[in-house]
């Protein structure tokens, strides 16, 4: 990390680029698994499935029609919704515009062309189904992740991006699992989750067990080698925070974000894996709250820039 730090506004933009790209990626994986379920299972309760999907993604579904088409509109194509796939990619794009002098041109071009391509892809997807669209998004997110790691210097800016990416990843995994716990009937089965996370092969290789709910949850939460597991992401977050802190503000108050990470990690590490499933609701609560609090702490410590100030004239001049 450089002694001089980086522009706070820029750091915040990079953090959000990380979060938004990951959000687009994760959302497309989740939607994919649900769409499969709706298509494959003729007895599926469409409304209940849609409801659970909204709940996982944190979208208020009170006024929304719970049909497959309108759900896809809201969660996939609607660029106005910050949690939708198109909205997330647009959020990444807007933040990239603001940090365009920092990110690599290759990243910029990749993000810009992705955004330009979404409309035509959407038109195709509305006729042929969302699968190609979702696949395109995942492919582009993978490309963006690759370019992030390969074309950016691994300095503070990159660390902030990685930080955002992994906070989002934990957040999404936690939501996904909670959806499974809360809407058992209306959510895809465990294997579908694994497939959607691209974790099927890794899971099989590490456990050689199929259809073991506790095993899947344990894998997604605690695997030390799989980059989408919660523990893995927590370790990455801690490393990023340490790098950023090491030469940054040398305050003696410690790093509250790292304390939150340490706490969450200890909760995971000392869990009894045999009964993980029973403790899952409580753990997920802790993780979701940790994500929120880490973001808050990082924002407070590093993103302390002003919004544009509307000045008031003294004496009413």
């Amino acid at each position: 990390m450089s002694e001089r730090g980086m522009l706070s506004r820029l750091a915040e933009s990079l953090f959000w680029i990380g979060r938004y790209i990951e959000r687009a990626d994760d959302t497309s994986r989740i939607v994919d698994s649900y769409v499969h379920r709706m298509v494959e299972d003729p007895f599926n309760d469409e409304a209940a499935t849609c409801q659970s999907l909204f709940a996982i993604l944190g979208i208020d579904a009170t006024d929304l029609a719970l049909t497959r088409t309108s759900t896809l509109d809201t969660i996939v194509y609607d660029v106005q919704k910050p949690n939708s796939i198109a909205g997330s990619l647009n959020g990444a794009y807007e933040n990239a515009r603001r940090s365009r002098d920092f990110i690599s041109s290759e990243m910029w071009v990749a993000l810009n062309t992705t955004r330009n391509e979404l409309r035509p892809r959407e038109r195709v997807a509305r006729t042929l189904g969302p699968a190609t669209y979702l696949a395109y998004v995942r492919e582009r997110c993978a490309l963006l992740a690759g370019l992030t790691d390969a074309t950016l210097s691994h300095d503070d800016g990159w660390q902030f991006l990685v930080l955002g990416r992994n906070i989002e990843r934990i957040d999404m995994t936690a939501r996904l699992l909670r959806g499974r716990v809360a809407y058992m009937e209306a959510s895809p089965d465990w294997m579908a989750f694994l497939r959607a996370s691209g974790a099927m092969e890794a899971f099989m290789r590490s456990t050689h067990q199929l259809d073991n709910a506790n095993g899947v949850a344990t894998f997604l939460m605690l695997d030390r080698m799989f980059p989408r597991s919660v523990l893995f992401a927590l370790n990455v977050i801690d490393e990023a925070l340490m790098e950023i802190q090491s030469a940054g503000q040398r305050d003696n108050h410690g790093d509250s974000a790292r304390q939150i990470v340490a706490h969450a990690r200890s909760q995971l590490e000392f869990i009894d894996t045999e009964t993980l499933l029973d403790q899952l609701p409580e753990l997920l609560q802790i993780l979701e709250s940790a994500c929120y609090r880490i973001t808050d702490a990082v924002t407070h410590k590093y993103f302390r820039h002003e919004e544009a100030i509307l000045w008031v004239s003294e004496g009413g001049l």
Binding site: I309, W311, V312, S313, E314, G315, G316, L317
Partner: protein, 281 residues
């Protein structure tokens, strides 16, 4: 009437916010100038919260004290304290109407001949004084204009605000010294007489007693050019006297406002302005 007054002036401005201001940036134009009519013996400007002060002289020759407050603060106080000796100015200059009409003169005085937003006077009012152009001695015409303004706008404290314009005051028929000054500027300029806005203080009593501290006020009057810059106070219908203490000059109020500032925070409950003047000798 005494020839020379030795005065102490304390000018205090305070702003109290409804809550706290996060930061503020300000320029005070509250320091009297040293001039042929006034000698500044001592002057000091203090700001609370205490912050570094930066001074400079602006385009119009006014002393400016600039400062910023970067910490959260509930109120802002600026106080200027000056000891000064003051004399009445003579009426100077013997330019004629034809001198005022030369191309070179108009060019040189350009910015004191153009109307400003605050000093723009409606055409029908301009028409009332238009016949005085090229008619009579310049200084006399200025006195006529001054009397004319008083006949149209009654001095009523609090009738208008600092943002009011000449037009608004004329419509109300009421105003404060700032409005009366703006109207006078607009009229004199329309006659081709260069005129500028003066801000300062007025010792209110015609017969000041030594040692007595009385409430004075921020005041505004006019200087016009008829060969030399000469003061006239249209609000009081007098020429510049020893009781007039000059702080700054400009095209209108906007160039000389005593405290110009912006802050980031809630509404200000308005400030108290206190001017106390004590005759020392």
């Amino acid at each position: 009437m005494t020839d020379e007054l030795r005065l102490h002036i304390r000018h205090h401005t305070g702003f109290i916010y409804e809550g706290f201001a996060k930061s503020s940036y300000n320029e005070a134009r509250m320091t009297p100038l040293s001039l042929p009519t006034q000698d500044v013996e001592q002057t000091k400007l203090t700001v609370r919260p205490a912050v570094p002060l930066f001074t400079y002289t602006d385009y119009f020759g006014t002393h400016v004290t600039a400062f910023d407050i970067g910490e959260v603060h509930g109120q802002l106080e600026v106080e200027s304290s000056t000891t000064i000796r003051s004399r009445a100015a003579a009426i100077e200059g013997d330019l004629t109407w034809s001198d005022l009409a030369t191309v070179g003169f108009i060019d040189r005085m350009n910015e004191y001949l153009l109307p400003t937003r605050r000093s723009t006077v409606p055409a029908d009012v301009l028409a009332d004084v238009a016949p005085w152009r090229n008619n009579g001695e310049l200084h006399d015409v200025v006195d006529h204009v001054s009397a004319f303004v008083r006949s149209r706008v009654k001095y009523v404290p609090g009738a208008t605000t600092v943002t009011s314009t000449a037009i608004e005051a004329l419509e109300r028929g009421q105003g404060v010294c700032q409005d009366i000054t703006h109207i006078t500027l607009g009229l004199l300029r329309s006659l081709g007489i260069p005129a500028r806005y003066v801000s300062g203080y007025l010792y209110p009593k015609r017969d000041p007693q030594i040692g007595e501290t009385i409430q004075g006020q921020s005041h505004a009057w006019v200087e016009y050019f008829a060969g030399a810059w000469t003061g006239i106070d249209p609000t009081n219908g007098v020429r510049h006297t020893a009781r007039h203490i000059l702080v700054g000059r400009g095209r209108d109020y906007g160039d000389v406002s005593p405290l110009k500032g912006i802050y980031h925070g809630p509404k200000s409950k308005g400030g108290g302005v206190v001017v106390e003047i004590t005759r020392l000798a």
